[in-house]
């Protein structure tokens, strides 16, 4: 049997995610400025700031609790990314417990993308976070945690890269038409960063 994702693992993962996001923040904000309304950086920073505070406020020994705190941070943020990422992390929380094995995490990721699609009505190719989420979910076999996370990260990164040449069909960047072509979708890139942060 492969290793499980424990509470401390989840917490470290989320901490790395916050750090990586902060490094990339300016670049991500710039993407939304070019193809959306420019608030993506602020929205995400606010959500992750809240998530960090919530994680340190209460004890979160359980993996599910860590994801729940991150979910709450996002659900208390504006924009479209706030509530959608909030529900994504909420599904991760619901699928996990004190810890999570590969199958639980894969199920959580699959449930997450399903919820995001149900709420946002986006398909792959619409130039949204779904373009990274869905390939990542499909890359996870539910058998080996580390292998799954590596595969998900690679798939998410490829999905994010694929958004560059697309015209957006959902979200604010859909209003700008061809102007969005050539610009990566910041939501999709953030999904890639999320999976990439799983490995120390």
């Amino acid at each position: 049997m492969s290793r499980e994702l424990t509470g401390p693992d989840a917490r470290e993962w989320m901490q790395r995610f916050v750090d990586v996001f902060n490094q990339e923040r300016t670049a991500l904000a710039e993407l939304d400025r070019r193809a959306g309304d420019g608030d993506f950086g602020t929205n995400l920073a606010s959500a992750l700031g809240q998530a960090s505070r919530r994680m340190s406020d209460g004890p979160s020994d359980w993996a599910s609790a860590v994801f729940a705190r991150v979910s709450e941070g996002f659900l208390d943020t504006g924009g479209t990314s706030g509530p959608l990422f909030g529900m994504w992390f909420r599904e991760l929380s619901k699928a996990t417990a004190k810890s999570a094995d590969a199958a639980a995490l894969a199920a959580g990721v699959a449930a997450g993308v399903a919820t995001v699609q149900r709420l946002g009505h986006a398909q792959v190719g619409d130039k949204t976070m779904v373009d990274a989420m869905l390939p990542a979910a499909e890359a996870m076999t539910g058998e080996d945690l580390d292998a799954d996370l590596a595969a998900a990260a690679a798939a998410a990164r490829a999905g994010a890269a694929s958004t560059q040449d697309l015209r957006a069909r959902r979200g604010r960047s859909s209003y700008v038409g061809d102007v969005a072509v050539g610009v990566l979708d910041p939501g999709a890139v953030t999904v890639a960063l999320f999976f990439e942060s799983a490995r120390a």
């Binding site: 709450e72 659900l75 208390d76 504006g78 479209t80 909030g86 529900m87 909420r90 709420l119 946002g120």
Partner: protein, 332 residues
Amino acid sequence: MTRRQFLNDPDDFVQEALEGLVLAHPSLELHTDPTYVVRAVRGEPKVALVSGGGSGHEPLHSGFVGTGMLDAAVPGAVFASPTAFQVTAATKAADLGHGVLQIVKNYTGDVLNFQIAGEISAEEGTRVERVLIDDDLATDTGDEDGPGRRGTGATLVVEKVCGAAAEAGATLEKLVVLGRRTVSRSRSMAVALSGATHPGSAVPSFELPDDEVELGVGIHGERAATRAPFSTAGELIRQLVGPLVADLELRRGDGVLVFVNGMGATHPLELSVCFREVHRALGELGVKVTRSLVGTYLTSLDMAGVSLTLTRADDELLRLWDARVRTPALVW
């Protein structure tokens, strides 16, 4: 001349205004972290009504919290949806065990956050249903795939009649039907003479030449699809009444509830003149004004504009409209 506002830090504007509101109205209670307004004293168990949306539309929604209308209101930042977390907390606070009716204006952010809050609340054991308000005829594109009509003046009508029905013991299911029926019988359209100025900003969202108005304007300072020539109140009002009457298929002898709403900087004298014109225009078509409400209830900051909402009347709606209401902004 530049526009200016009475405020301290623009970032604290909504929060400080809410603090002032509840200081002036002890019947309301303000919660922060997350922010929502709820009735301070809860009466008999009944279905709870929760609405909300971006700020800048006051007195809507927080001014409508009270007996016979809302149980809680969830204000976002100016012109920005409240978060799902706020709505979830307000839903929990409002619930009296008989379920919660969300009244949501049709804007992407509001819809998303209220839906998420509804789902989370449902998982936590609260029955939640939603009535979507999409009465703005100016945004009726007929496009199935598009965002649909925006929500505007009918919000007040739905909050009033569903509030009255809830107070009288209607079930959540009944309220959903009533709310949706009211929306389907209501259409609105607005005309603006000037844009809206964000708190802390010196210029309105758009500038109009002296001889033009924005016809079919929304409530977030955005431009309308159409510009029409500036004209007399009579002429401008006719351009609202005509399309509404046509869309609602009002016929000679039909009765309507008329809601003439000031969008911010429109003076009571102007609203009275506009209502007179609505009354005349409907009268010429043989449509009866069964009830009316004229005042500044759903604003778009300091926009100079008027919105007109017509709701096809029936006995049930009138009875509920007439029922007692006790809120900061609507009392009878």
